[in-house]
């Protein structure tokens, strides 16, 4: 069990995941949850601190406090995305993002789409240094990715549990999807809602997929990736019908993917190198002598 929990992965995968997660934190601030900054316009007495906010001596957010956290987090997350000082920057970003979330969730509404992202932020500092493209395997990095994966699956599996706890066994035969569509449905959802029994089937489908989600850990590699692909397609449907994005969860779920194979910077460099070779040939139409060294491959070690 402890071998499985710390199964080694290439350092390059940890590096790619780290870059993605910290870039998302920066994007989350400006694209996905800019409303957190609007909390400043909301009167301080609407602030109902969460349990964690009452236990820790956290101040009632003011305009200054929110601005300081926003800018510090934005700059530090972008720095952390470079992979430098993974512990110092990692812990600082985790602490600031947690406080940012506590502020966001302390006004009467708690979101459930970011548990796995918070776990990823909490464990990434323990994964140590990792360079992009490095195939050396690391157990510390393997643990960080594994617990993020477990958190992703917990979000599904325990959501089914919560449905039994709060909704009871009637959840699947109720009208929860119709209600969601009325409150935040798209035109596509309105269309779907008219198909007889489709919402009922979808409710049973959601429960089944949430309860079966832990199977992802026992499937062979190829089927595991297919199942993760299915998870992503589920969220594609929820975005296009009831505009629930679950973006932080989707980012955390990339912990299942062989991210070390995605090298956008190298692909870009290759493209530019190819372009410049073509341009040179165009300027100098003489055929290259046979002993001209080939264009250096930036991917070569």
């Amino acid at each position: 069990m402890s071998r499985w929990l710390t199964e080694a992965v290439p350092r390059g995968r940890v590096a790619a995941f780290r870059t993605l997660v910290y870039l998302f934190v920066a994007a989350d601030l400006v694209v996905f949850t800019p409303w957190v900054r609007d909390r400043v316009d909301v009167p301080g007495n609407l602030y109902q601190p969460l349990f964690i906010g009452r236990v820790l001596p956290l101040p009632t957010p003011t305009a200054t406090l929110v601005s300081v956290i926003f800018w510090a987090l934005l700059v530090l997350a972008l720095l952390a995305a470079t992979g430098r000082a993974p512990r110092l920057l990692g812990w600082t970003v985790f602490a600031l993002y947690l406080e940012w979330m506590i502020i966001a969730m302390s006004y009467g509404k708690v979101d459930h789409d970011r548990f796995a992202l918070l776990v990823a932020l909490a464990v990434l500092p323990t994964a140590g240094r990792a360079r992009h493209g490095d195939l050396t395997r690391t157990e510390a990095g393997g643990w960080a990715l594994r617990v993020t994966q477990i958190s992703v699956i917990c979000t599904y599996f325990l959501a089914a549990w919560a449905k039994f706890r709060f909704g009871g066994l009637d959840w699947a035969t109720g009208s929860v999807l119709a209600k969601a569509i009325i409150r935040r449905g798209t035109d596509l959802a309105d269309l779907i809602a008219q198909v007889p029994h489709l919402l009922l089937v979808a409710q049973f489908g959601i429960l089944a997929f949430e309860l079966l989600s832990p199977l992802v850990f026992v499937l062979p590699e190829r089927w595991r990736l297919a199942m993760v692909g299915f998870f992503y397609s589920f969220h594609l449907v929820t975005i296009s019908t009831i505009t629930i994005s679950f973006a932080p969860h989707l980012v955390a779920m990339t912990s299942f993917l062989p991210l070390e194979k995605v090298r956008p910077v190298i692909a870009l460099r290759r493209l530019l190198a190819r372009r410049s070779t073509i341009d040179k040939r165009r300027l100098n139409p003489d055929p290259l002598p046979a002993d001209t060294p080939p264009v250096p491959d930036p991917a070569a070690p």
């Binding site: 402890s2 929990l5 710390t6 080694a8 992965v9 350092r11 409303w35 316009d41 909301v42 009167p43 007495n45 609407l46 969460l50 349990f51 964690i52 979330m101 506590i102 006004y107 009467g108 509404k109 708690v110 459930h112 789409d113 970011r114 548990f115 195939l135 050396t136 395997r137 690391t138 157990e139 510390a140 643990w143 617990v147 477990i150 979000t155 325990l158 959501a159 549990w161 919560a162 449905k163 706890r165 709060f166 009871g168 959840w171 035969t173 109720g174 009208s175 929860v176 999807l177 119709a178 969601a180 569509i181 009325i182 409150r183 309105d190 809602a193 919402l199 590699e221 629930i244 070390e260």
Partner: protein, 153 residues
Amino acid sequence: MPYLRHAMDALTSRGRTVRVAVTALGLAVLLTGTIWGADDHFPFGPFRMYSTSDPADADAPDTRVEGVDLSGNLVDLGEAATGIRRAEIEGQQSRYVDDPSRLREVAEAYGRRHPDAPELAEVRIVIRWHDITDRRPTGRWVDETVVSWQVTR
């Protein structure tokens, strides 16, 4: 998997033990939160998005905040106008009903964002009840004002 041929950084046995213990502790807290906890225990509360059960024919509420300004115009006091999210209004709805003068907070948030707009005379929370029959919306609805407050100066 080709990377299995590469060298490996192994954990020390202490590093491994600590990680196993932290994982077990985290799972235990999360499970406790799911079984007994509430949203208040974020981030370890239950994942209760869309977990309530609504009977197949239960009408669906669509809550909005609106106001009437001094010139008698209806003003939308949604998230774009006040910065307060709908779910936050719903989450604290009972507190507004118990003490309607708390709606002053909404009026103030609107005033700060729209200093040049005509002042509000009334703020209210309205629920539009959409009819659902056999798990499908029928397109019929009725509005219910759950709380309203005349702006006092």
